[in-house]
């Protein structure tokens, strides 16, 4: 997208947000005022292993429990838990044609087809195929992630797929091209880490329910520590190709406090080879 056009849209979004009173379930409700510990350079210290405890990865909107797509094989293993919405106000402001596309995504989410061109992204839920989850989805997948905070850059490493993203604090950098995890520039507003994420491709989804975006996606994330063990996470999502207005999600992140807790590798590529390459005859199980 043209940088200038994007700048105007960001300004419009900012105005809209400023005019909208914050509603919804602020995860900090009931928490006393908190001053987080500092890093060596005096910033709030977000280092640690964090994890969301929502069911948003199945559907970011409110949803009941559901059987899995292959109950005859997977039984209760494949079933999805019910859960409440992380979307402020509950509704995602889709354009009419985009809502139709969302419904189609849901219908074809198991239709992974692998081609040697970008048509491989036409259908099939990205997580099903072990693709990078994008932002904000990476933050509410049912896997922990670890924050490494330095003055110039903040690195987030996600257990899922070992995907990572660098948040450039100083200097900021322009996205050189589109990518799955987007391009993140950050700054501090008081004790809140604010991350501006652009440079997305249009291949990631928000959840398994088919909620999606275009390559005009622009996400502004806010990470606010509200206790030694909780971060209030908020994200504003803007994409004029798909939504009629910016909208907001929020949920808490919980610190993983187990002794010696660490990310354990979840490299899902070998888990999807048969699914993805089998139908086109590329898979021959090795004899073991």
């Amino acid at each position: 997208m043209n940088i200038r056009v994007r700048g105007v849209m960001i300004a419009v979004a900012a105005l809209w947000l400023a005019a909208t009173p914050a509603k919804g379930q602020a995860p900090s409700a009931g928490f006393p005022a908190y001053t987080p510990p500092r890093t060596a350079d005096g910033k709030p210290n977000l280092n640690g292993i964090w994890q969301a405890l929502t069911t948003a990865n199945w559907d970011i909107q409110a949803h009941g429990a559901q059987p899995g797509p292959h109950p005859e094989l997977m039984g209760a293993w494949g079933a999805g838990p019910g859960g409440q919405s992380i979307v402020e106000g509950g509704e995602i402001p889709y354009r009419p044609e985009a809502l139709a596309k969302k419904k189609q995504n849901l219908e074809t989410r198991m239709a992974a087809k692998v081609t040697n061109d970008p048509h491989r992204y036409d259908s099939g839920e990205p997580e099903l195929q072990c693709y990078r989850p994008g932002v904000p989805r990476a933050n509410y997948m049912p896997f922990p992630f670890q924050i490494f905070q330095t003055p110039g850059e903040i690195l987030i490493v996600y257990e899922y797929k070992g995907a990572s993203r660098t948040i450039y604090m100083d200097p900021h950098r322009e996205p050189p091209t589109d990518s799955w995890m987007g391009w993140s520039n950050g700054h501090w507003e008081g004790d809140t880490l604010v991350v501006d994420v652009t440079g997305f491709n249009d291949h990631t989804w928000f959840d398994r329910a088919g909620n999606f975006h275009s390559d005009a996606l622009h996400v502004v994330e806010r990470y606010t520590p509200i206790s030694p063990y909780h971060i209030k996470y908020e994200a504003t999502i803007e994409d004029p190709n798909v939504f009629t207005r910016p909208w907001k999600i929020s949920f808490p992140l919980y610190r993983r406090v187990e002794e010696n807790v660490q990310l354990v590798e979840f490299n899902c590529v070998p888990f999807v080879e048969e699914l993805m390459y089998g139908p086109v005859g590329l898979y021959k199980p090795p004899s073991r």
Binding site: D117, S164, T177
Partner: protein, 354 residues
């Protein structure tokens, strides 16, 4: 915003590097660490000599140099580092008994290697490495006096396989023949082309493309981020035990500590199917990272797997500093190359059967 159509894995790496660098001079990343670089110079000898002189000047300037520390007192290895070398892993037979070149010989060997690297066969390759600033003499890699990266055993060669490992390899080769002519992702691809791991191990051996990396440090951790496949190694420094033995990981389970200015990393728990140079999940890797001047990490590793090699062996290679940043490497997401390679092989096999 454009969608990138990347035709083959090989092309991916080149296109990524070139297009990603669009906002900055094309040569900036490749030549970082060597301010002497002049993109108008296309004479190999002139370029190498200028770089060698610059390296000597830099070395002289840092003769009484104290390695930097982080704000919390750890040796500071932070930055971006390249794993590339023109020194072979094993000492060539014709150099038996000669572990080190003279300076002049090293220069000549380097020149020969980089010129070979820059040569392009127009029947197979449709681009000129030099055009994109990607041939080696424009990189911060410098001539190396060693004739092999392996420093132990003293003959510079990988030790003999144990009888058990020989049996294992013979069985694997027989199984591969039995599968013929079937071809598939798992029989034709390797971990790199299948996008399961990148090209930087561990251990890290020089690779001729996309072997950039970043080291980050926070109190209690060192993180190593590889360009290839976006592999991340998180190395706790708090002395915690390894994961239980049954937890296998493609990149292993790393634990680090400081010995003076050297980061020592011990990695175990390798995935049973990883098969690094014929090794098993019993592989134990020790790596040592030392900043020897502002622009160079000395990287040493020792691998030990008693069921594979008759003795442990060690290698050493410099990692020159390069400019930031790294870019996303979504390998599996757009792994068209593997499909094309496999389809091509299947077509050839079908032809052979006709």
């Amino acid at each position: 915003m454009r969608t990138r159509i990347l035709a083959a894995l090989g092309a991916v790496t080149i296109i990524m590097a070139v297009e990603s660098m669009a906002p900055i001079p094309v040569a900036a990343q490749a030549v970082s660490g060597t301010k002497s670089f002049n993109p108008t110079v296309i004479d190999t000898e002139v370029a190498i000599k200028a770089a060698a002189e610059a390296a000597k000047t830099a070395a002289a300037a840092t003769a009484n140099w104290t390695p930097p520390r982080t704000a919390w007192g750890d040796p500071d290895l932070r930055g971006y580092w390249l794993s590339l070398s023109y020194t072979p892993l094993e000492r060539p037979a014709e150099l038996a008994g000669k572990p080190l070149y003279t300076e002049q010989e090293a220069f000549a060997a380097f020149r020969k290697a980089v010129e070979t690297d820059a040569e392009v066969d127009p029947r197979t390759v449709h681009y000129d490495w030099k055009e994109y600033g990607m041939d080696a003499w424009q990189s911060p890699v410098r001539p190396n006096l060693r004739t092999s990266l392996i420093v132990d055993p003293p003959d510079g060669r990988i030790p003999a396989l144990t009888p058990e490992a020989q049996k294992r390899q013979a069985a694997a080769a027989a199984a591969a023949r039995a599968r013929n002519p079937q071809t598939g992702v798992q029989t034709l691809g390797n971990l790199y082309t299948r996008c399961i791991t990148g090209n930087q191990g561990p251990p890290r051996l020089p690779f001729n493309h996309d072997s950039e990396s970043q080291i980050l440090q926070t109190p209690g951790y060192v993180v190593m981020l590889m360009q290839a496949n976006g592999d991340v190694r998180i190395i706790p420094l708090d002395g915690r035990p390894h994961l239980p033995q049954n937890v296998g990981q493609w990149l292993g389970d790393a634990r680090g500590h400081w010995e003076g200015n050297t980061l020592v990393v011990e990695t175990t728990n390798f995935h049973p199917e990883r098969n690094w140079r014929g090794s098993t999940d019993g592989l134990k890797l020790i790596e040592r990272f030392t900043l020897v001047d502002p622009k160079t990490i000395r990287y040493e590793f020792t691998v030990d797997d008693p069921t594979t090699w008759t003795r442990p062996w060690s290698a050493e290679s410099p990692l020159p500093r390069i400019e930031p940043p790294l870019y996303e490497w979504a390998c599996h997401e757009q792994n068209y190359g593997l499909m094309n390679v496999v389809k091509g092989a299947q077509a050839r096999e079908a032809e052979a059967r006709r």
